[in-house]
């Protein structure tokens, strides 16, 4: 019944959807729609990167306050944060982590990815029992694959070519077998570990929760909970036709729910407000069903 309503929330917006929602403090209370299917993470890969980063701080391998230089010539570009800036930036590891999550800063993410290492991130996922979750490359690798598959490096031309269904059909970044991937259930498991202080030290988990609560985007998960007394923390992921968000909804009654929503549509449109809102709508229906 509730699953049918979740499916309807996706169908009404013209998207395919995958979802898992679970009560963080009573993991038996859960609901899913294709919750164990492989899905592409897109920028959600920054969450496992965040977890391993703070584990390395816990272990003394990294210092949270070490300053990192990001010269404009070599850092990854993107639409937000340092990735969109022009001049040299020097910033601490933990502030980079905050920008990577709060505005999905690609330059910050790739600088941290280089510090932490892909193998360490995947080893951490193994240690957490998340064997269906794999991180494959960072933002610049995703961009390079997209440029290669679309046959252009020029940003305006790339945006146009991504509207071509033939080009989208050959994008490796849209194939869970060849890109960073997980399942809705494994993403809520990871969030649950962060919220229960199980993913790293209590202090490190608090840092991660702070960054996730500072995420600025209102159009996806948060749109389903338009209320001042609900805290919504999360991390989005976006690629052509792909709109994702995984996060935690904390209600005034003290109940906390981890929810992971992954959507896909054949429409090439970048701006598709109803598809963004379907993420909030489906999450709302799922969490209400867990009452």
């Amino acid at each position: 019944m509730s699953q049918a309503r979740i499916a309807a929330a996706f169908a009404d917006a013209g998207v395919e959807g995958w979802l898992h929602a679970v009560d963080i403090d009573a993991p038996g209370r859960e609901i899913g729609l294709r919750a164990d299917d492989p899905v592409v993470l897109s920028s959600v890969f920054k969450l496992p990167l965040l977890v391993e980063l703070w584990r390395q701080v816990d272990a003394g391998l990294l210092s949270a306050t070490t300053a990192v230089d990001l010269p404009p010539a070599t850092r990854t570009s993107g639409p937000t944060g340092i990735a969109a800036m022009r001049d040299p930036v020097r910033m601490s590891v933990r502030d980079l982590a905050q920008l990577m999550i709060s505005v999905s800063d690609n330059a910050a993410a790739d600088a941290l990815f280089d510090l932490v290492g892909e193998r360490a991130i995947n080893a951490r996922l193994d240690a957490l029992g998340l064997d269906a979750t794999r991180v494959v490359g960072c933002c610049r690798d995703l961009f390079a694959a997209m440029q290669q598959d679309a046959g252009t490096e020029e940003p305006d031309e790339l945006a146009l070519r991504l509207a071509d269904p033939d080009v989208r059909a050959r994008l490796r970044v849209l194939d869970p077998a060849r890109s960073s991937r997980s399942t809705p259930r494994q993403m809520t498991a990871l969030l649950g570990a962060v919220w229960r202080d199980g993913a790293a030290s209590a202090e490190a988990c608090a840092e991660m929760r702070r960054a996730l609560a500072l995420q600025v985007w209102p159009h996806r998960l948060a749109s389903g909970f338009p209320s001042d007394d609900v805290r919504v923390s999360g991390k989005t992921g976006t690629l052509p036709g792909v709109r994702n968000e995984v996060g935690v909804v904390e209600r005034p009654d003290g109940r906390r729910f981890a929810v992971a929503v992954f959507t896909r549509t054949d429409s090439p449109a970048f701006v598709l407000p109803q598809a963004d809102a379907a993420i909030g709508r489906a999450a709302r229906v799922a969490i209400d069903a867990l009452d």
Partner: protein, 315 residues
């Protein structure tokens, strides 16, 4: 026995009345030529030539055969020439298709324009949805077609893309006079071609409607404009159509303010089918679309796409 070849040898000898000169003309040596002529005589059971040391003469049977063979060889040559034209796509049949949303007038103009360009090719034009058309092109059961864009062409070749603005069909009763904004339709239902006719175009159309504030209360599906116009006539629904569609009384067409909805089409064909007929179909389709006021566009998709920070790549 390769009778045509042997007859060709015979005609050369009969015309030259000299084995050496005939062999020279045929670019071959004399002994095999003599052997072939004897072979032909054995095959037909008659003597064709009287040979002496000094000269060669035709027998009465040889004279009859010479006339018959000339005619047969000319016919064979004609046959080869005709098959060559079929091969080049100047003769024969071209299997083509167009989407059901293409109006009857456009189909008539396309057939005429093609026939003018390629009078000796029979154009088999049928109706087909874009996905079925692409499948038929891929499996070889169709040579060329008109498809709604964007579409998944895969390995198929695509012609230039043409676009035309869609307007809105309204019940005449209470319809506004000038252009209509999509957002003004917010309380209406929509009658639209079925998604399977052109899924990419269908999704794009509904996404644009939604972005401009028109989320139809219900979507009814109709393939052809007359049926859609009927649903519109009943009053609750609106439809989309090009300006030149014939409409029943009681239904009016209005342009959409800002031309937010475009219908884009191009030809698509099997690279293996390329030839005179495919070129003529492309040429005819281009002429018909241009005549009907369609404008060529650079890309099969939108002219410009600007990702925003919250909805761009990798955020």
């Amino acid at each position: 026995m390769d009778l045509l070849r042997h007859l060709r040898y015979f005609v050369a000898v009969a015309e030259e009345l000299h084995f050496g000169r005939a062999a020279q003309r045929l670019h071959m040596a004399q002994p095999p030529l003599s052997q072939r002529i004897r072979g032909l005589e054995r095959e037909l059971g008659v003597e064709l030539l009287k040979r002496s040391t000094r000269r060669v003469e035709l027998t009465p049977a040889g004279r009859v055969l010479l006339a018959e063979a000339r005619e047969l060889l000319a016919q064979a040559e004609h046959l080869q020439a005709v098959m060559g034209r079929v091969q080049a796509g100047e003769l024969g049949e071209l299997r083509a298709a167009a989407p059901p949303m293409v109006g009857g007038a456009a189909v008539a103009r396309l057939l005429t324009a093609f026939h003018e360009r390629c009078p000796d090719v029979q154009l088999e034009l049928r109706e087909s949805t874009t996905p079925a058309l692409l499948q038929a092109l891929a499996d070889g059961s169709l040579d060329i077609g008109l498809v709604s864009r964007p579409a998944r062409l895969g390995a198929l070749a695509g012609g230039p893309t043409f676009a035309t603005a869609l307007g809105v069909l309204l019940a005449a009763d209470g319809a506004p006079e000038g252009p209509v904004e999509l957002g003004q339709l917010r309380d209406r239902e929509l009658v639209l071609f079925p998604r399977e006719s052109a899924p990419d175009q269908y999704d794009e159309l509904l996404a644009t409607c939604s972005a401009y504030g028109f989320v139809p209360r219900a979507v009814h599906h109709a393939v052809a404009t007359p049926f859609a116009a009927g649903v519109v006539l009943a009053g609750r629904a609106v439809g989309f159509a090009t300006a030149d569609e014939p409409l029943p009384p009681g239904v009016v067409w209005r342009p959409l303010a800002g031309r937010p909805l475009q219908w884009r089409v191009s030809t698509a064909w099997r690279p293996g089918a390329a030839g005179t007929a495919v070129a003529a179909f492309n040429d005819a389709a281009t002429a018909v679309l241009a005549d009907a006021g369609w404008t060529p566009v650079d890309a099969p998709g939108p002219a410009r796409r600007v990702p925003r920070p919250a909805s761009g790549l990798l955020t």
